[in-house]
């Protein structure tokens, strides 16, 4: 079963962090994605640019409006995601718990909906 691990971080925390600490965390991220890739658990995933770069798009009554993302002000922002394959929720939780941001931010584990076509 596929699960999306949505990674929420406090961007300000990273801004305030010394460079070598940020590098260490990035290193952990790379190591984890390599390992999960080799074990077949990792289907995909990306880190996202900061929310300050985000644009929100809505179409209402046929008109497209774009605004600056309102998520800058919230404490934690979506910073990236992993798409994983896991046997069940417990395995997904075990994997999510190893994502570095789980230690200072949070990781939301959501099963991926599968459609029959």
């Amino acid at each position: 079963m596929k699960y999306a691990c949505l990674i929420y971080d406090d961007e300000k925390l990273f801004d305030a962090m010394p460079k070598d600490e940020v590098d260490a965390i990035l290193g952990e991220y790379f190591a984890l994605s390599d390992e999960l890739g080799q074990s077949g658990h990792l289907l995909g995933g990306e880190a996202l640019m900061p929310v300050s770069s985000a644009t929100v798009v809505r179409v209402r009554h046929g008109r497209t409006s774009t605004t600056d993302g309102p998520y800058v002000e919230t404490k934690e922002q979506l910073g990236g995601f992993f798409l994983i394959e896991a046997r069940d929720l417990d395995e997904a939780i075990r994997i999510a718990a190893r994502i570095p941001s789980a230690r200072f931010g949070s990781v939301e584990v959501r099963p991926v909906m599968e459609f029959e076509r």
Binding site: R87, D88, L89, D90, P111, E116
Partner: protein
Amino acid sequence: MSDLGDRSGDPVRDRLDAVYRLESRRVLATLIRLLGDFDLAEEALHDAFRAAIEQWPQQGIPEQPRAWLVSAGRFKAIDSLRRRSRFDASLTQIAERLYSDLGDGAALDEDVEDDRLRLIFTCCHPALSADAQVALTLREVCDLTTEEIARAFLIPAPTVAQRIVRAKSKIRQARIPYQVPSREELPQRIDNVLQVIYLVFNEGYVATSGESLTRHDLCCEATRLGRLLVELLPDPETLGLLALMLLHESRRPARATTGGDLVLLAEQDRSLWDRRLIAEGLALVQRIRASRRFGPYSLQASIAAVHAASASAAQTDWAQIVAIYELLLRADPSPVVELNRAAAVAMRDGPAAGLALVEALLARGELLQYPLAHSAHADLCRRLGRTEQARASYLRALELTQQAPQRRFIERRLGELEG
């Protein structure tokens, strides 16, 4: 479903009724494992008992009623899946898989005890909200109806129903596994199970106001679950929770007057305590002591055991109780435990010593909304002859207390202060 028809003394019907009471939750637990779906399993359980009502009077009671019911439930589920698969082709495969698994009938009955444990752990999975865990456990493991759960927790029945439906759909959609957690995860996960059981027990125990059947039932259900867990997983904390519940429960007959007024531990008529439950509880505490491993529940059970073993309040070994509270503070620090420890210190060293601790605790501010902190403060002031302070604290406790018997108790104490 618990009443399977009129009980006119028909031996088959009586037996069926007994089988339902004893086995229906085990059968359900196994069907959930086999079918992989709560709702499908409940429907299958229902169908299996309906088949038993029809067939047992003619064919006689099977040698292994539980295995018969599991097998009947499984066939009924396959039938129902096949019927439905006319509309949804994806179900055909599931039905075929279930059917082809049927080969070894012996496998049906193995792991049954594990199935019950699986059911408890699934219902108490930490990915479900705490409210949902309690509702689901009472519904699926204890077979309480939605209405009974609603009445016990004073919440509307539709809310309970919704929680259960949501929890079941989360189990299905997020694929919460139907299994006992691995050895590494067990300590973390067992805590949740123990907590749910204790919550169920407390809901039945603390609310002396209603004293309705359902609330007493909650205590029975909680101790029944405790016994089951001890049978399956006899580690010190599990033993401790069961001992704690049994020792608390042993005092039920002495805890309130016939008029429903609260009787404090010190004033209880100990001849009313249930000796059988005490003996069982004390034996468990012995087993824990032998293991030399203590956690929050086993320590609380040890305190309850000291009370249970004392002939009177005056003869209680308060020094030992204070010592155990100190261990408990290390294992599971909380201001409420500190408050209890202060009360025990007051019994050991006199009210002034206790009062100093309670006042320091209140000064920290964490317990300002906790009525028992104010009534403890009031009680110690009363014993020291500080009437004005006692009155003020009783009044504060009265403002915060929701329970009718608690309120009557405080009002009585206030009346005595006037006299």
